[in-house]
Amino acid sequence: MMVAQAAKLISSATSTPISMEIMLADALDAEPALMSVRGVTHYYGDRCGCRSIDLDLWPGEVLAIVGESGSGKSTLLNLLAGRFPPSAGTIHYRDAEGVRHNINCLSEAVRRRLLRTEWGFVHQNPRDGLRMRVSAGGNIGERLMACGNRHYGKLRGSALDWLSRVEIAADRIDDRPSAYSGGMQQRLQIARNLVSSPRLVFMDEPTGGLDVSVQAKLLDLLRQLVRQLNLSVLLVTHDLVVARLLAHRMIVMRRGEIVETGLSDQVLDDPQHAYTQLLVSSILQG
């Protein structure tokens, strides 16, 4: 798995950007893109959400979409997840069997099947992604049950396994998410999404409402999981530090358009576009 190796190399901070680029390029030639987006445009009435977006996402790659608020990041993410159709353009997804789907033309049934099997969606606010009146175990097991798992013992087993993976104590399995702290809720949401081994996870500001120490732990956890499971991730964030820690590649958006794209370290260390330079220079230096 060249991609996994490339991912490992990239996420270890020691390697240089140039060698990574070569590694990644080699790896990416081997496999076709998981998701290819061409000319995607979305208008909210007269107002432009995003315009002429082209991008490719390869298996095992973490792609960050960064930009200021209102730059169309979340619009783009929602379009890619098929939550609403774009005004123009096409989004193709290659599923586990290698079949290419046009996301905009998917039937509701297929889209929902993808959402509960091959995709995951991590919301900024865990309350949007969790069932707050169902115990943690039930939350984790839901996708498995939706996929036809009918064995309580096995469901319980995988719930416990995933709780330990996201570092939640096993004795909290029967507590409702409302009894959890914000950081634990977010970790639970991640466990709930990853339990059915998705191939592609959409994340909308996963560290949004968390304090800095919890953010750091969560990022660490995410980085591990992404590497272990060879996940592809589309990560929306306004936080460049998060993007640098997690993402292999990033696209910088402004006013609904991509202004710069490239490997994370390359974009952050040597920003070309004036707007990216502004973003990078505005990172608080600790």
Binding site: V134, M145, Y152, G153
Partner: protein, 295 residues
């Protein structure tokens, strides 16, 4: 002002039931309900919306069941009403008297004699036969409602057979109580397609719905939904492989008739905590007691 006119006409002809059409509702309404019933029978377990009418009693007392009964009732029908298994509670007596008056049909408390049985929360212990119609009063027809509050979403879930959340509910039961503690309104899968709420029947009665020779109709008056199980339809209760569906059991027989195979109600008999268990199905209990005394 149609009502006074018809009353006046009725008085002129001297009939006993003059103010109302046969079985209370007007023929157009009955046709509308029958159309919904036909669709419901054609798609077992699917909730068909219908234009529920106001009935002369509050929602929750069986308005849905009464509308379905009125729509399928004929002059030859023998009508039985049970409320929690009992033929002699206020609700059962009133509904029986109501239809005896507005339709002039024969009523009974004997399950074997009845052709049309309206029921609240029980299926008679006596096995049903072909030609009988069971009419269930349903308070909340949507089995997914407790997990998903949006009606649009639950409809989509039914359409796409997305029933994982029903098992989440059962999972929660086992996680909290160590067993599936849902004892009534236990969700069933009808004809291997639609998950259906069997109205708040005790789960003891769930197996009786499977391959039942009688036609089973469900009416929810407040929610304005009708659904049905045609005769000889497969009805399975949802469960887990390692926690299979099981019905309630009692350690004692019925205190009145000695039956060991029926659903028992617990009755508190005094202030010191004395209690007895008796059959909830009064008709079954009485017959069983008579048979025992004859022996």
């Amino acid at each position: 002002m149609p009502a006074p006119t018809s009353k006046a006409a009725g008085q002129a002809t001297g009939q006993s039931v003059v103010s109302y059409n046969f079985a209370y509702m007007d023929e157009q309404t009955k046709r509308m309900i029958r159309r919904s019933l036909l669709k419901a029978v054609a798609i077992p377990g699917y909730q068909v919306p219908f234009g529920g009418r106001e009935m002369p009693m509050p929602y929750g007392w069986g308005t849905g069941g009464m509308q379905v009964s009125a729509a399928v009732m004929g002059k030859e029908d023998v009508f039985k009403v049970i409320d929690q298994g009992s033929d002699d509670t206020t609700n059962a007596v009133s509904i029986r008297a109501f239809f005896a008056r507005v339709a002039g049909i024969r009523t009974t408390t004997a399950t074997v004699e009845a052709t049309l049985i309206q029921t609240r929360h029980r299926i008679p212990e006596q096995a049903l036969r072909e030609g009988q119609i069971m009419v269930y009063q349903v308070p909340i027809p949507e089995p997914l409602r407790w997990m998903e509050p949006s009606e649009a979403e639950t409809r989509a879930m039914h359409a796409l057979e997305e029933y994982g959340v029903m098992h989440v509910k059962l999972y929660e039961d086992i996680a909290r109580h160590g067993e599936i503690a849902t004892s009534f309104d236990y969700p069933v899968l009808v004809n291997k397609r639609y998950v259906m709420s069997p109205s708040p029947l005790p789960k003891f009665d769930n197996p009786k719905m499977n391959q039942c020779p009688a036609l089973q109709l469900f009416g929810a008056g407040r929610e304005k939904r009708i659904y049905a199980i045609p005769p000889y339809t497969t009805v399975t209760s949802l469960d887990f492989e390692d926690y299979p569906f099981a019905v309630q059991r009692w350690d004692v027989p019925c205190a009145l008739c000695g039956a060991t195979d029926s659903y028992l109600d617990e009755i508190i008999t005094d202030d010191t905590g004395a209690r007895m268990f008796v059959c909830s199905d009064t008709d079954h209990c009485a017959r069983h007691a008579v048979a025992r005394d004859m022996q």
